[in-house]
């Protein structure tokens, strides 16, 4: 552990728990142009993302499903971030975010709540929770989207 119990608790209290309790657009939205699962078979976390794309821009974004506070908060923050964003920009953000998480040193700063998530990467073993939805979106953008 690189962070103290107190620091973790403070991060949870300030950012994760509120986001977990009041996640952004947490509802099923059938009929969107894009929809896919963010699923971690190791722990059972499974969210479903409903994204409506208009002119290559994420117009409206929703999600539902079950997961831990971190993965839920992270998915919620992801959606807030990409709403109104072009696919290309979203891809860049996902890549930057995952890069930040998986590199030992923080490569590039975010100037918003995403930094909380990055800080939690030192909360060992939870990186998979943090990046769950981000990887699923990136996978969609890199693979499924291209396949048509």
């Amino acid at each position: 552990m690189d962070v103290t119990k107190e620091e973790i608790q403070a991060l949870y209290k300030a950012h994760i728990l509120p986001e977990n309790k009041h996640p952004y657009h947490f509802e099923a939205k059938e009929g969107t142009s894009v929809s896919f699962d963010a699923y971690n078979p190791m722990c059972g976390d499974k969210f479903h993302l409903y994204l409506n794309v208009v002119n290559d821009v994420f117009d409206t974004v929703h999600f539902d499903g079950i997961g831990c506070a971190i993965s839920k908060a992270s998915t919620s923050m992801l959606l807030k971030k990409i709403e109104g964003m072009s696919k290309i920009d979203a891809k860049a953000i996902c890549e930057k975010f995952i890069n930040n998480l998986t590199n030992d040193h923080q490569v590039d700063e975010f100037n918003d709540e995403l930094n909380t998530l990055i800080a939690l990467k030192h909360f060992d073993g939870r990186i998979d929770c943090i990046k769950l939805a981000w990887e699923a979106l990136l996978n969609y953008l890199l693979v499924k989207d291209l396949e048509g």
Binding site: I8, C43, K46, I66, C68, I70, G125, C129
Partner: protein, 400 residues
């Protein structure tokens, strides 16, 4: 005997405050086992079977003596009923692929249970799908006990194997394998027992239980990773075909044709995990210094104290209340995901597992996406349960 038991385990020397409540995932290793491995690697290392020099002879002898020791451990008088594998998963796959598959036909069925681990689920599902056979999954009742009546009804003349775990690694249910094996045998059905969770603490005497196949892993019985055992009853030995192909299992090879040795050697292709088997042998010696009934009594005491204490916490719900329970307790905490629970317990030096425990069909049935699981071994005590409780109470308070 179990007094000062923690001193046998170096991990508690290094982390005196560690409450290791994850022995169902893997037990800790006693010093004597680590030393046996180190002794072999340092001073006795050689490949077996094909060497005529002293080190190789002595390694071969010790390897075969380990086979005898494992056989004795489960009451088999024939060491040739024992094959060394890399773990329970490997052992079960061998029975699925090298025993059952070739005789499984369309319309046949395989019976397993909802309590089973993926290792005892997916191999059967795969061969059933491939052969057009049916996979029958015995249901459980509300408490988390097998529905024995259903089990009895599922067994018929088309049932080619009944395979189930002795102890559920998710709910802790201890199945009455004695009765269940009898049910299978009454209909001439071979029965495989996945003893991963029971082999360290329960007597699995073959004369008592009369199972046809038995599988277990070293790492859940104080032995190193990468070791496992498959027992095959004498009457089935001739029905086991090779699994991996390679050196050491060959009678004769030519460019046209190859003939193979008999079980257990036909299963042990390539260089086996010789040093691991030395560790397994030492782990059996370690277990044999204890009385199994006393081990179970100790674990049961801690487990029931745990259930008692958890029951006093309002927001905690224990998943499964089986008639007979081993040292495993699964629970959920209201509004806090098991993953978060485990992370916060970790902050207090309490090691537990969160997730589906490789029993996804069971958790789907229970409509529980994941649980927190604590599991006890001989080195755990009531004081650790007190810490678990205190930590959970503090977490719930923090969360709300």
């Amino acid at each position: 005997m179990l007094k000062n038991i923690k001193t046998y385990f170096p991990i508690f020397e290094k982390y005196p405050d560690l409450a290791y409540l994850d022995s169902a995932a893997t037990t800790q290793r006693p010093k004597s086992v680590n030393e046996a491995i180190n002794q072999f690697n340092s001073f006795e290392n050689a490949n077996i079977h094909r060497g005529v020099y002293d080190l190789s002879n002595s390694a071969t002898k010790k390897f075969e003596q380990a086979r005898e020791k494992v056989a004795r451990y489960i009451g088999s008088s024939n060491p040739k009923t024992i094959a060394f594998t890399s773990g329970t998963t490997h052992s079960i796959n061998i029975i699925a692929y090298s025993f059952l598959k070739s005789t499984l036909n369309k319309g046949d069925n395989i019976v397993i249970t909802l309590l089973d681990h993926h290792a005892n689920f997916i191999p059967w599902q795969m061969i059933a799908q491939e052969k057009g056979a049916e996979l029958r999954v015995v249901p459980i009742n509300k408490k988390g006990d097998l529905d024995i009546t259903s089990l009895g009804k599922m067994l018929d003349e088309k049932t080619k194997i009944l395979s189930l775990n002795h102890i559920s690694n998710s709910l802790g249910t201890v199945n009455d394998i004695h009765e269940i094996i009898d049910l299978g045998h009454k209909k001439n059905i071979p029965v495989m027992i996945d003893a991963a969770q029971s082999v360290a603490y329960y007597d699995l005497d073959i004369l008592t239980f009369n199972y046809d196949f038995l599988a277990f892993s070293g790492h859940k019985m104080f032995a190193p990773f990468g070791t496992g055992v498959l027992y095959v009853a004498e009457k089935w030995i001739k029905s086991i075909t090779p699994y991996n192909y390679g050196g050491g299992i060959i009678k004769n090879v030519s460019a046209e044709e190859t003939t193979f040795s008999d079980y257990p050697f036909n299963i042990e292709a390539g260089t086996p995990n010789i040093s691991g088997v030395m560790g397994l042998s030492s782990a059996i010696d370690f277990i044999n210094t204890f009385d199994k009934a006393e081990m179970r009594q100790h674990i049961s005491d801690v487990t029931h104290y745990c259930i008692e204490q958890l029951s006093t916490i309002n927001d905690v719900k224990i998943i499964g209340t089986p008639e007979k329970r081993s040292g495993i307790v699964s629970f959920v905490v209201k509004d806090i995901h098991p993953h978060d629970v485990a992370s916060f317990l970790n902050q207090d030096n309490i090691a537990v597992r969160a997730g589906m425990h490789c029993t996804q069909p069971l958790l789907m049935y229970l409509e529980t996406p994941a649980t927190v699981r604590v599991s006890f071994s001989i080195y755990n005590d009531r004081q650790e349960v007190d810490r678990l409780k205190a930590s959970l109470v503090a977490l719930i308070k923090f969360w709300t």
